[in-house]
Amino acid sequence: MLSLHALAIALAFEGALIAAAIGGLVLLRLVLIVRSRQVEDGVGRLGPVLHRWLVDDTGPDPIVQLLRTLPPYVAFRSVARLATPYLTFERQQRLAPLLRREAWVQRVLARGDSLLWWRRFDAARLLSIVGGADDAPLVVALLADTKPAVRLVAIDAAARLGGSLVGVVLEGLPWRQDAVQQYQFAALARHPAAVVAALTPRLTPLEPPAQLVTWIDASAALAWPDLLWRVRDLALHPDANVRLHVARALRRCAEPETVPVLQRLLQDDDWRVRAQAARALGALRAGSAAGPLAVAVRDRAWWVRYRSALALAQIGGAAHADLLGVAHGDDPLARDMASLVAGLSSAAVVEMSEV
């Protein structure tokens, strides 16, 4: 009988939960419809005002006034959605101090130290649009947040503010995954002067290799000539991983002095370095390297053969004739690779060389 009672209680409990779930479904659908309409309406009203500012340069005041009339969460969502696609960095700089004084903005930013991660996330997101110098301590705290999503958005906020925060972001770079590093490079590129100043003293053979490769990658992402010249000087570094990153970075350094350096790397003991050197020579359209590249198509490593053949196709002209020569040669692996690449359309060559 005890079991029957237990089952009866479970049944009543389950029944109540089912009723609550169905009620919840109805209620949620209504709430979501209303909220989504409000946000869409906010976005719909803000879009033309932003557009007018872009076209007529009427000033940002109408934007601030419109946002003040919207419910705070609608104002926030609308700005978050439209600021990046509509406004250049310079326009955001003009709009930021005006918005920063608004009550709805201050309310969102005051929650930057909330225990609820999504409030910190909202604060970080808004800081990436309206943040000012006074917000630097909050951005530093958000950069070290326990929630990866908050940290990621805080990078945009740090990039907005620039200054000493660039150094803070750079310091953490070597310990991040590749994808996060690339995201940070893209964000930091808004402040080339600060990044160049912070990176230049780090691009030295005395830096530990694990960190040096990050500085090399950052230099490549920024493609700033002063930095790439220093990267080029690291081509003889004893660590193969450093040479690999140098070879990869040098495809952004379109100068005659780069080609002999890459030709030397094309002879490297490490196949990964040779492959990246071949790729860089192709990207630089280094016609003078066609001979060594034709030899490299016969390399024992698949990736070196592949990158060298693509490089010859990319360079074109006489280099393409070299590629066809290999395609009719007696080395079967080189012949297959050369035939494969020689048969590709020019669009395919460009696409496959890039990735």
Binding site: S3, L4, L7, A8, A10, L11, E14, G15, L17, I18, A21, I22, G24, L25, L28, R29, L32, A80, R81, T84, P85, W117, W118, F121, R125, P148, A149, R151, L152, V153, D156, R176, Q177, D178, A179, V180, Q181, Q182, Y183, A186, A221, W302, R305, Y306, L333, R335, D336, M337, S339, L340, G343, L344, S345, A347, A348, E351, M352, V355
Partner: protein, 490 residues
């Protein structure tokens, strides 16, 4: 007389013991489902919250996202192949290639591909690391530079995936079925864990049911719930399995399923474990178990995670016979994988995989049809013979029924709160309806198919069973043509 009384008393004791056992089993398994639900809810919120932000759009234009090779095995997929492939080739993602492997199709899959994508044969300049069935030829497309098609002798899905894995250039590979429609931004969303600084071995996304959805040019433009009971119930089943089942496992640390129809993997891990096993009929489940073992044995910290918002759509069976073949095969694959990796079960060296995930799959998945069938038979027989009170039996069935319905409703609720893909109120009403009718007939039928799996497993059956496809409808699949000669390389 004394003997009869003795037998009767023994029978009553046995029946009560079995009833109690089944009751406890139900309590334990359902409590675990409830735990998964509780664990899944905050994660679902987090993914929804971040997934709706514009950071996603910005990452599209940066070089932050990893390069991905999409592996597509195809066997007799002529009905859907052109649309599916077009959807893959037009994904919103900066760096990817598609490697489609025609696994000895007997229909005109290859002919349709050649015609639709202007294929030409190229030399076999790919790295070969895995042993597979012989490749007939490699083709590139004159119109789609990202596409590589491999034509090979039939060796099964796992063998085709291994050929594609060998031909892949990029460090990450996405395995997907040829009959799966991947949403345009799904790959971008699937790459999100990389932006979250996580070490990833594999990421799985959500599979949804495409039957009755409006599909144009290989894209689902309007999500709908099929009004037919079989497809409709499977829609609820998929929501339940993905929205809280797999999401809950993320926090328990032993995610063992990344659907073969839609999963992103680190290529080097897959090649280290010698790719997909060709001896199993559920190569996706077996692969993840082997991958989890490998990660633990190597002391690697990379994880297998599931995220809910990247969506791929797949066609589900609409006839009981086809459903039966599918479910029987899935369960047979589960049995063979559990047997092959029995050393992991309750083995503390494998962490959460050994102590939580594998025992769960043994008790709550593998043995479920046996316990469910036994419970059904014992309860009905004992109620009819008076050994069990009718009121108790009714209450027992009602409790089990309502709990199952409650879980389905929770999944529907989570779907409504987060991604809300089914915009029409009519579809939500249908989902609720199917959640209520699922326990009547559908469950019992699937229990029967899963029981059959034991029989066929012990007979050593390794067949897949034939799947019948209806196609996506509304697409622009070109008419079938006679197989033309493939033009030579220019």
């Amino acid at each position: 007389m004394a003997a009869t009384v003795l037998v009767g008393s023994w029978l009553v004791t046995a029946v009560h013991a079995a009833d109690l056992g089944i009751l406890w089993y139900m309590l334990l398994v359902n409590s675990f489902f409830a735990l998964l639900l509780v664990l899944a809810a905050p994660q679902l919120f987090a993914h929804w919250r971040f997934g709706s932000e514009d950071v996603l759009a910005r990452s599209l234009t940066s070089s932050a996202v990893p390069r991905v090779s999409i592996l597509v095995p195809a066997h007799n997929e002529a009905v859907t192949i052109v649309d599916s492939l077009r959807a893959l080739l037009t994904l919103q993602y900066p760096y990817f290639e598609v490697i489609l492997v025609n696994d000895g199709s007997k229909d005109d899959t290859m002919a349709r591909l050649v015609a639709a994508y202007d294929l030409y044969e190229v030399p076999p300049a790919v790295m070969r690391r895995l042993r597979t069935e012989r490749v007939k030829a490699y083709y590139r497309s004159r119109t789609w530079t990202k596409l590589l098609v491999v034509d090979k002798h039939n060796g099964g899905k796992a063998d085709a995936l291994n050929v594609a894995l060998d031909a892949a250039r990029f460090p990450y590979v996405l395995a997907c079925d040829a009959d799966t429609l991947i949403e345009p931004d799904a790959l971008l969303r699937l790459a999100r864990p990389f932006l979250f600084d996580q070490k990833i071995a594999a990421v799985g996304g959500t599979i949804r049911v495409v039957n009755s959805c409006t599909v144009q040019e290989g894209r689902v433009v309007e999500a709908r719930v099929d009004s037919r009971w079989l497809a409709g119930i499977q829609t609820v089943e998929y929501l339940r399995a993905f929205l809280f089942g797999r999401l809950g496992w993320n926090l328990l640390g032993g995610n063992l399923i990344v659907s073969g129809a839609f999963g992103l993997f680190r290529r080097d891990y897959l090649t280290e474990i010698l790719g997909y096993a060709t001896s199993t009929v559920t190569e996706d489940f077996e692969l993840i178990v082997r991958l989890q073992r490998h990660l633990k044995e190597q002391g690697a910290t990379a994880k297998v995670v599931f995220i809910p918002d990247p969506v791929a759509w797949t066609e589900v069976p609409t006839s009981v016979a086809v459903l039966g073949r599918q479910r029987e095969r899935w369960h047979r694959g589960l049995i063979s994988t559990m047997v092959a990796h029995r050393g992991v079960i309750l083995n503390p060296s494998y962490g959460a995989t050994g102590l939580i995930a594998m025992p769960y799959f043994l008790f709550a998945e593998l043995l479920a049809p046996v316990v469910e069938a036994a419970g059904l038979v014992i309860t009905v027989v004992c109620t009819l013979t008076g050994l069990l009170s009718t009121r108790f039996a009714m209450a027992f069935f009602a409790a089990a029924y309502l709990f199952g319905t409650l879980l389905s409703l929770a999944a529907i609720l989570m779907e409504e709160v987060s991604f809300n893909r089914y915009r029409r109120p009519r579809d939500t009403v249908r989902l609720v309806w199917f959640a209520f009718i699922e326990p009547f007939g559908y469950r019992q039928v699937t229990v029967w198919f899963r029981l059959k799996a034991f029989w066929r497993y012990f007979r050593g059956d390794h067949s897949w069973g034939r799947m019948k496809r209806e196609g996506f409808g509304g697409g622009a699949t070109p008419p079938a043509i006679a197989a033309p000669g493939v033009p030579p390389a220019p």
